[in-house]
Structures are given as structure tokens and as C-alpha cells.
Symmetry: none
Subunit: 212 residues, 4 copies
DNA sequence: GATGAATGAGCGTTCATTCAT
DNA sequence: AATGAATGAACGCTCATTCAT
């Protein structure tokens, strides 16, 4: 990767990834044509193939790189957090801020999964599963400690990720809220959502007794 | 008569919608070809045009019909509910069960919005806005009553809808959980998530004071 | 309109011919679709086939009927004319006024010939040949009498017909000129054009002697 | 290398224009399919689009280039001609010989005008108007000099052009007549047609008095 | 590394025509 | 006579991809 002198190769590749990211985000993978992409980059369509192997591989690389980053950075964000509450709070903060800074990758990784060929699809889904398991483990630990209470661990995991990920379909930089405010708003919903219902008002409706 | 395959009259239109729904759900609007659709229905590609005007209009009709149903049925579900808590619980139950029975429409209405032409797009976004406002009003009322507490009304609205809608990317009929269990799991997360943090365990971390 | 008992059959057929004439004139035979035609008439495309056999036959009928009329009416116009000059003048007057009143048929019969199937094409070309021969005979008679002088009989025949027929690509009813003025303008050009060059000014360049 | 059929580079574009010209001449613009054209050129239909933007633009280019050539070459043909008679004779000779050598372009430029989109249509009609004005000016000058006499300038202009242009619907290279003979035949008709009727026989019928 | 011209498949759509009702 | 739904072929055009230069 780190080739520096002589050629603009790396620059072109970077331009392709960047433009590809934007175009897929805006129009979807199927709807983005390599002609559009080439035009955006300022080269002829055929020249793309000096940098990519196939359109499919470009998508796959974009998604896979994103998911790897996501996982690696999550690791870092959780490294020194000990209690489930601390870890959940860190998870939320990390997830939200990552989604704010890389919302295109995040969006694509969710919406264009179905355009991946089986092999690539499975690889990505496996990585996504690892990410989800991180959250599931935090929730599970909190349940054991009695600090969290969810009706179903898996549902809660999916629901919390969906809740947090929803961000990238409405967030625009420079909007009404600061990053911190947005994080705080999500922290409240998630943390509060998994807490035991204890003395909180409005609880105790009978339907809750029927859970499987 | 020879050919009764391919069916006639109103049936064909229904078959087109049904097959279209499934194919768009599975492959996306851009990736579904009218040849596929016609084959699924059992007619020639050109014959589709006895029933639809354009591919775009088929998508638009599917989405618009769904959103109208969604709004109408929500109205019904909320009709006799009085308190914000009751209403929020009803909203969650309705949303989840609607999404379980019509997850394809729901999924498409979210993921294929960008494939709508501007005119259609705006119409659908307006209807979606009306739906979101229903939830926002419930939350707002609950805040006034002191039974709910969210950091930011808009963020909470989007987040809750995202949380609930996430369901349709993992739910499969006949899975591990009953409908009631799934509803209960979501109710707990949402209701608990918007409650004032009062005496609940694990709360009271200092960061909460800094929100905008 | 004048539909009397039982069926509107004749009316519909007439409407089809009329609309067909207009549409072919405006867009050309190839560019006119039977869907357009049906819409114009106010019926469904399939219903056209209760009145016509094929699109091709509609064209052929329109052209053939026109050419037959043209020939028949020419006969009449020439009936009592004796001298070549009288007959040529009558030919011009007839041709021009026919083209003014039925310019669509005339235009189509010239421009859509190539869209006729071989069988129909040959039939029409034969009739057109008969029409041209009428003019050729007049010119030929005039040459024998010494009142006309053309360099080549066939070229003159084609050229005069082209000259006269050109009318229907610019004539619009209600224009600057009266019908009589238009006829007079063409008569002058044609009559004068075939006259021996005698004492006329500007003539007599030597090249004229060398023609085959 | 396998395929040198289908040719390369600038040659392909030339082959497309040439084949397009012939096919449009023979079947009409609407009736010519790009599949036919591609087959004629020896490439795949889609490959046409490496050379043209649209079918419409191909037509438009063919016509526009022809009309520009026509105007430019007319300019040259008239350059050193002084008197109206000389100029008219030159006009006829030029028009006829141009139409003999490029009859396909000429034919198309007349018959396929209606297939041009409004923008292109107007451009071409404007150029054609300039060409017509050349002839009108010659006639007008001749009238002032007293060497020409026409009943109506505009009618005469259109009629003469129609007369001359008619050539390209019957002319075939290698026919009965030499180029010179054909030119001479047209010169006689046109020159004689616009001459004052002076002593020529057959003149003086009463209808001539009614001109507007 | 880039270009331009090519491929072959496929796109959404329209067409003339047929025919049971 | 008219309809509505169907057929099968074809339309203009775009696509991802290849490759000699």
C-alpha cells in the first residue's frame, strides 16, 4: 500500500474508493455504474480495471475494511472499561461516534449486504456477528450482575444495534445537535432501556408476566 | 384454451404485486428485472404493461399503499388508548406486529425510498413524517406528564422507530419466539428507555450533566 | 353523425381512415402506432381489427384509393380539353387544386411508398405510372405540334410533377394566396417552361445544341 | 487477434455514417434499426455507442453536415457569376449535380426532417431557408432587370427547388442520360419557366390577369 | 497506467397482432 | 363491435468487462 514515489497509483485507488463510497451511498450498489464512477474519478471506465478486479470486489473491500476497522476500534474503546454499565456506555458512545464520522461505510455495510456474492456475504456476516456478540456479552454480564434486565438477550442486542445504527439515516454534520448531545441522547435510551424496572414510574403492567 | 397458466384479470395484477414485493425484498428494486418478475408471474415481459405503467410506478404503489395502511391501522390501534404510557405501549405493540406480518413492505418502504422519483419520494416521506409525528406526540405528552424523560425528543423518536423497525431484518415466522414474546421484549426496551431514571440502579454517572 | 340504424360500423371505419391519414401525415407510417390510432378514434387497439386487417393494408388502402381518385378525376378534368396547351393547363390546374384539397393523401402517397409491401408497392407504382403517362402524352403531343419544346421528355415529366407536387409540403389553407393565384403561379412556370425558347430574352446559349 | 472485421478507429465512424445513410435512405429513419446498422458495419449494436450518442443525433449530424456542405458549395458555384441568368443557370447546374452525387443525403434531408427533434429541426430548417433565399434573391434580381417574370416569387422559389430536387427520387447512376444531359434538361425547364412570356406561343390566357 | 473500441448480455419498454369473453 | 389480456419479437440503449495499443 505505502508506495510513494513515481506514480499516482495510490491516489487513483483512493479516489476510486472515495467516489465509490459516495456513489454507492447515494444511489446504491446496483444503481451505480462504473461509468459514473470513472467519470467521477476522471478516468475512462476501462482504466478502473488497473485498480480493481471487479465491481463486486470494490463493494466487498469497502464493506470488509469498514467492518474490520469497526471491530478493531471497538476493541480499543472497550479496552479499559470494567463494569457492564461502563462497557455499555462505552459501546454506545463508540458506536454513535463511529457512525457519525463514517456514516457512508456504515450505511452501505448494512444496506448493500444483499448485493454481496455468497462468499463475501458470509465473511461480512461473520464479522458483523462478532460485533454483535460484543454487545450481547456486555448485556449478558450485566444480567448476571443484576444491573441489567432485558426480556430476551438476542432481541435486545439486535434492537440496540438497530437503534444506534438508525442514526446514519438522519444524521447530517452541522445539524442542530453536537456530537456529545447525540451520544448522550442515545446513552439515556439504551442504558435506561436495559435497566431493571425497579422503582421507575409507569412500570408493572401485567403483560410483562407472560414472557417465554 | 391451452394457456391458463399466467392467470387472468384482477388475479394477474395481484400476482404481479405479490411477486414484485418478494423480488424487490430479496434483490432490491434496481436488481429486480421485469423479466424475472414476468417469469415469476408466468407471463411475457411485455404483458406486464397491461397492468402496470412503469416499473417505478409499481414500486411507488407498493410503498404508498403500505404507508397508507400503516397510518390507518395505527390510528385504529391508538383509538381508545388514553395515557401516554398506554399509548406508547400500544404504539410499540402495533408497530411490531405490523412489521411481523408485513415485513417485506416495511423493509422496502425503508430501503427503496431512494429509488423513488422525486415526486413519489416526497409523497412517501410526507406520510412517513406523519407516522413519526404520532410517536413524537406521545413522547411529548409523556414528558409533560412527567412519566417520560428523553434527552432529545427528535432523536428519541427516530431511535425508537429504528429500534422497532430493526425487527424486520432478522424476524422469520416460525422462529424461536412467539409474537407476544417479541412484543414484550420491545415494550420493555422502549418503555424502560424513556422512563425517568429515578431510583433505577446503575444510574447517576456524572457525564449526564453535560447535555445540551 | 349520420349513423342510422343498428351499427356504427361505417362511422368507425371512417374515423379510422381519417385519423390514420392525419397520423401518418404527421408522423409517418412507421412512427404511427396503432395504439395512437386507436386512442384517436376512441377505441381499444384490439378493436381496430374489427375494421382493418393489418396496419399495412390500411396504408395501402389509403394510398390506393387516393391514386384511383386522382386518376379518375384527372380523366374528368381533361375530358373536353383538346389542344396540348389547353390540356397541359388543365393538368396543372387539376393537379394543383387536387393537391390543395387532399394534401395529406398526396403527401403520404409520395413519402410512404417505401413502406408498402412489394405487392402493394407495385400496384401503386403502376397507377402512378399511368398518371405520369398522361402528362408525358400531353407533352409529347405538344412536341409533335411544335408548341412545346423539352430537352428530354421523361425528365420533363418527372420534373413537372415534382414541381407541382412540391406544393403540398408548404401549402396551408388560409395562407397568403388564393387558390387561383397559386394555380396561376404554377401554370406560368410550367407552360413557360415547356415552350420553345423562340424570342425569349436570355436564351440561346450554345450548350443547348449538344444534348443527347 | 481474431477479429479485424468491424474495423477500428475513425474508420468505424465513417462506416457507421455510410451505412446509416444508405439504410435511412432505403427504409427511412424510423424503420432503420440500430441492430441493422450495427450488422451492416460489422459490430455489436451496443458498440455503436462508442461512436454516436443517440440514433437521433446520427440523423441530425448526417442532415446538418449535408446542408452545410450544400450551402458552402453553392457559394462557390455562384462566386463568379454576375447576371441573374448566369446565376440561375449556375444554381440549376450546381443543384442538379450535387443532387446526383449525394442524392441520399439530399433525400434524407428532405424526407426525414419530421423525425428531427425540435431543436435539430429548427436548426436545419433555418439552414434550408438560407439556401432557398439564395434562389429567391436570384429570381428577384432577374425580375428587377426584367429578364425574369414569375407570378409569385415565393411560389416560384419553392417550385423550382421542388422541380430540381425531384431528381433524386428517380436518378440512378449509369442510367440513360449523361450528367450534362440531365443538367441541360433542367436548365431548359427552369430558365424557360421564369422568362417573360414575350412572343412565346400559347401565352395570354385570361386567368393570368387575376394574380394577387 | 491510461485509452478507446470492442463484446455479449441484458435492460425497461413498445409494437402489431390475436382471441376468449 | 368492443374489450382486455395475452403473445413474441423487437426496439434504443446501458452495462460490466476485456484488451491491443
Amino acid at each position: 500500500m505505502a508506495r510513494t514515489i513515481g506514480s499516482h497509483g495510490p491516489t487513483t485507488m483512493e479516489a476510486i474508493r472515495k467516489a465509490g463510497l459516495r456513489l454507492i451511498f447515494e444511489h446504491g450498489y446496483e444503481a451505480m455504474s462504473l461509468r459514473q464512477l470513472a467519470a467521477e474519478v476522471g478516468i475512462q471506465p476501462g482504466s478502473l480495471y488497473n485498480h480493481i478486479n471487479t465491481k463486486q470486489e470494490l463493494l466487498s473491500d469497502l464493506i470488509q475494511d469498514h467492518i474490520n476497522d469497526l471491530l478493531r476500534e471497538l476493541e480499543e474503546a472497550l479496552r479499559d472499561k470494567q463494569t457492564p454499565v461502563e462497557r455499555l456506555r462505552a459501546f454506545v458512545a463508540f458506536h454513535v461516534s463511529y457512525h457519525m464520522t463514517r456514516k457512508r461505510e456504515v450505511f452501505i455495510a448494512n444496506s448493500e449486504l444483499r448485493s454481496l456474492e455468497p462468499r463475501n456475504y458470509e465473511a461480512v456476516v461473520a464479522l458483523r456477528g462478532a460485533y454483535e456478540r460484543r454487545l450481547a456479552d456486555i448485556l449478558s454480564d450485566g444480567m448476571s450482575d443484576g444491573v441489567f434486565d432485558v426480556v430476551d438477550l438476542q432481541v435486545a442486542t439486535f434492537a440496540i444495534i438497530a437503534l444506534l445504527t438508525g442514526l446514519c439515516s438522519w444524521y447530517r454534520p452541522g445539524g442542530r445537535l453536537t456530537k456529545e448531545a447525540i451520544i448522550a441522547a442515545h446513552e439515556k435510551l439504551v442504558l435506561s432501556g436495559v435497566m431493571p424496572q425497579g422503582a421507575s414510574p409507569g412500570g408493572g403492567h401485567p403483560g410483562q408476566g407472560t414472557r417465554e
